[in-house]
Symmetry: C2
Subunit: 187 residues, 2 copies
């Protein structure tokens, strides 16, 4: 098993979520429109722009048993109707693998949905907050503040990302603004 020297040491910025190394994935609003409760509202938004909703930079130092990968995410502030900007969300391909999320700046929540019991939880993930995502749990991150939300996620190297399973039917619940505050509601 090789451990490429250049990924032992990496630097990060907690506000911009920039990493000195890693693979970047950026999602614009048009690319994740079906993740929202009401995609039609996107067409009615008063701008021709297609804003970046979120960006994740992933570092994968090695892929053996016992190895770990990690990512630094940023979700920009914004809403589609009453629904906050969010990540697509995913399950891990290796379903039993967990993930630790560490909130660095901003305000937000994670939406957790157990794929067996369908139990849903809404857990705070802002600056100073940690969320443990157990195995078999679809997870989505939501920015409920007016600044970028940034966070680390650390996961086993063999976890893999499965966007299909949850993408097809979407999460059962949504996090929307109601009476000025983030509220968990049925889709």
């Amino acid at each position: 098993m090789t451990h490429p020297t250049d990924l032992i040491s990496v630097s990060y910025d907690e506000l911009t979520a920039n990493l000195s190394k890693g693979k970047i994935v950026e999602r614009r609003l048009s690319e994740i429109r079906d993740s929202f409760l009401n995609p039609d509202l996107i067409d009615k938004m008063p701008t021709d722009e297609d804003p970046i909703v979120y960006r994740v930079t992933a570092v994968e130092p090695s892929n053996g048993t016992g190895d770990l990968h990690y990512g630094l995410g940023i979700i920009y502030p914004g809403k589609v109707g009453p629904e906050y900007f969010l990540t697509k969300g995913h399950l891990h391909q290796a379903r039993e693998t967990a993930e630790v999320y560490i909130g660095l700046s901003g305000e937000g929540y994670m939406l957790l949905e157990n794929e067996k019991t369908l139990e849903t939880r809404m857990e705070p993930l802002g600056k100073g907050q940690i969320v443990y995502v157990p195995g078999h749990t679809a997870h989505r991150t939501v920015n409920t503040g007016d600044k970028p939300l940034t966070y680390f996620g650390v996961y086993p190297a063999n976890a893999g990302h499965d966007y299909g399973a949850i993408g097809k039917r979407n999460f059962l619940k949504v996090i929307v603004e109601e009476n000025g505050k983030p509220t968990l509601k049925d889709r």
Copy 2:
């Protein structure tokens, strides 16, 4: 596999390294005297106090395959002669398991020593710095600044801590102050 509800959501403070939940281990100078290059210097220190050198608070949400544990560490500033305050250091019992360290505040380094090749590295771990500790690598953290150094460590639930192997012979190299800056030297 159970995932105790009360460890899904935990809050932390980046400056004090306090966690809202978790198991605390604290090490005073007298308990880790043999980790230093010259323990005799401790006896000559001009105080009757036995300061806390470091504290780690560990959170262990679950113990199944694919699960993760994490800890938040704080090392206080200080020196024994030219040698900076440090952690005892350890290998993982499950030797192939890695660990991701994320620096939150302060200034410091990690000392990495591969148990097979004996290759040593000194990698920065202060605010904004990440160190990937591959498997089979003894690791120690050192505070080289004048404020507390705080950091997260995330590791597979099955990693385990082996303090014996490296404790007996200690690390091959030390990080000491030389000409006012942290320097890696042979023991």
